[in-house]
């Protein structure tokens, strides 16, 4: 597997396939169904200081090649995660990243402090892009000043790699990528879900109880590749490409566009055992193109007119 091993923000992943936050629980739910040690790593469901109820139901609606969700970051809270979940992951054989949330800048820092002191965590992903919460989330990730404040605050309290997850619901993602880099981020995750609305035409109401939701799945892939590409061009730190990946070719789109590694999200719901096929597909691609290592693919996009 060394042909697929990647280093990202100081973290060594055995392959560039990481399960995305919110689509893989806390890593323990699929124990026995998915062989965790085959993954490069996974990112936990977003965690606040306290347990959280999340949104009322219905929370999900299927859309063409997509999934619209407003879960609202239901979760057990960071202390229960550290005390009860992390010990179960001790020998999981994959890198564990923790997705950190907050209603305030202080809460982001406080959650990170708890994670920083816990064994077995490889990095911190900062959730400044959830569209389904009233405070925090996109309220921070949609504002460059708040983005800088949150990333700086998290940076100050941990030596773990810090990876902000950016929102696609902005006009210029490159601006946010640069702000994060300047604030001390070690890497970026691009992108979170796209803000969407699905309407039940019989009842003339939103299909989701929260109203709007976040769109994910293959439907958003071209948007995600474009934004990950824009972010990767704007910074020197590595970028996780995220958005509608369900096959090796999908993952390669992001790698070629400049992402050092990728996160697989909604596809975990439709096919939790897809990693074998993805890994085989990446190796097959290297063979067909006479390449030794997956790094040789990264950032090789031949964009018309050159990379302006």
């Amino acid at each position: 597997m060394s042909r697929l091993a990647v280093e990202f923000a100081g973290i060594r992943f055995k392959n560039p396939l990481i399960a995305a936050s919110g689509t893989f629980g806390y890593g323990v739910e699929l124990a026995g169904v998915v062989a965790l040690h085959k993954l490069g790593g996974f990112v936990s469901k977003g965690l606040y200081l306290q347990p959280r109820d999340g949104c009322p139901t219905p929370r999900i609606a299927e859309t063409p090649s997509g999934l619209l969700n407003a879960i609202g970051l239901q979760g057990v809270g960071v202390k229960a995660f550290v005390a009860e979940v992390l010990p179960q992951l001790r020998d999981c054989g994959t890198q564990v990243l923790v997705n950190v949330c907050g209603d305030t800048v202080e809460e982001y820092a406080e959650v990170t402090r708890v994670i920083d002191g816990a064994p077995g965590v490889a990095g911190v992903e900062i959730n400044i892009s959830c569209p389904n919460v009233k405070k925090g989330g996109i309220a921070f990730g949609g504002d460059p000043v708040m983005t800088r404040e949150v990333v700086s605050a998290v940076r100050r309290v941990t030596r773990l790699p810090v990876i902000p997850k950016l929102s696609p619901n902005v006009t210029d993602i490159a601006l946010f990528a640069k702000v994060c880099e300047e604030a001390g981020a070690d890497g970026l995750s691009c992108i979170n879900t796209l803000l969407g609305l699905a309407v039940d035409v019989e009842r003339r109401r939103p299909k989701l109880a929260f109203g709007t939701g976040g769109l994910s799945g293959p439907a958003i892939r071209p948007v995600a590749v474009r934004m990950a590409w824009q972010a990767a061009r704007a910074v020197k730190i590595p970028v996780f490409g995220i958005g509608g990946i369900a096959s090796a070719a999908d993952a390669l789109e992001f790698l070629i566009a400049g992402c050092r590694a990728v996160q697989v999200g909604t596809a975990n719901f439709a096919d939790p055992c897809l990693y074998d096929a993805l890994l085989a597909g990446l190796l097959d691609y290297l063979d067909r193109h006479g390449l030794q290592h997956i790094d040789e693919v990264v950032g090789t996009l031949q964009y018309p007119g050159g990379d302006a």
Binding site: E29, L30, G32, K45, G54, S65, L67, A270, D271
Partner: protein, 286 residues
């Protein structure tokens, strides 16, 4: 080889081995899947999807109708109502589907002092064939109350007759059995019953809520199998949660229908339109 979870589930690409068309549009589909065939209990389900296509994107949950450990097969009762179930119903023998199961918490056997009264609405009948067999193996009997709009909605009635399980039919158009709702037939039975009962129900939400009200009013235990939109089936997407109020809990919480259900204690469910304080009072009373 798929890996098998400690809880017995496995994800497999499974061939359709038999297809039996019932009265249109209903169909019985049998798949080869050793883990489901050997360990599925009444009320458990599989997440299944016929192709890798992204439209529809997600697998769909289906109750296991029948499991045959000797043949390593299980059977689903499918009514095509949307793209997921229609795609499944269109499968031909030999074609494959991705299938993860068995999943979820099954029905608990009612206490021996109580009669098991099974209440089904439409294709909510699916888990009860397995439940009647499970009860039969323990030398216990059950009674089925089966309701629908019209006679054609009441498929598989003869399978209960073959097991010697009495079945009370109810149709809203009056074409078979009691003319009206199945819960009316249930109440008529309860009015004349000499032994205490436990209610086990699967069907549309409105019927399940009605069963829950009957159980609360008469002080009967009741289990309901809920069917919310489900994304993953294993507790990672948190899309299928049900608001519940346990008697010993300080406040309501969301529980995953896939891992903590789909069968819930009816008294714990916060039904649409119910206030949380009402549910708390009921929880304390039961």
């Amino acid at each position: 080889m798929p890996s098998v979870a400690p809880w017995g589930a496995a994800d497999r690409e499974v061939p359709l081995v038999a297809r039996e068309a019932l009265e249109a549009p209903y169909v019985l589909l049998s798949f080869q899947h050793p883990e489901v065939a050997r360990s599925a209990r009444a009320g458990q389900f599989v997440m299944i999807k016929p192709s890798a296509s992204s439209d529809p994107l997600l697998r769909r949950p289906f109750s296991v109708l029948h499991a045959d450990p000797a043949a390593d097969t299980f059977t689903l009762f499918v009514k095509p109502v949307g793209p997921g179930s229609a795609g499944l119903a269109a499968l031909r023998v030999g074609e494959r589907a991705r299938c993860l199961g068995p999943l979820g918490r099954p029905f608990r056997a009612p206490s021996p002092e109580r009669d098991a009264l099974l209440v089904a609405g439409g294709y909510g009948i699916a888990p009860f064939l397995l439940l009647c067999r499970e009860l039969g193996r323990e030398g216990r009997s059950a009674r089925v109350f089966y309701g629908g709009r019209r006679t054609a909605d009441l498929q598989l009635r003869e399978r209960f007759a073959e097991l010697g399980v009495p079945l009370v039919a109810a149709t809203e158009d009056g074409s078979l059995g009691h003319a009206g709702r199945v819960t009316e037939a249930l109440e008529a039975h309860l009015d004349g019953a000499s032994r205490p009962s436990e209610l086990l129900a699967c069907g549309p939400d409105a019927m399940l809520h009605a069963v829950a009200r009957i159980a609360a009013r008469r002080g009967l235990p009741a289990q309901v199998s809920l069917d919310p939109w489900m994304g993953c089936g294993v507790g990672t997407c948190l899309g299928c949660v049900v608001r519940t109020q346990e008697a010993d809990a300080p406040r309501p919480r969301y529980r995953c229908a896939c891992t903590e259900g789909p069968v819930f204690d009816a008294a714990s469910v916060l039904w649409p339109g119910e206030s949380e304080s009402f549910a708390r009072a009921r929880g304390a009373a039961v």
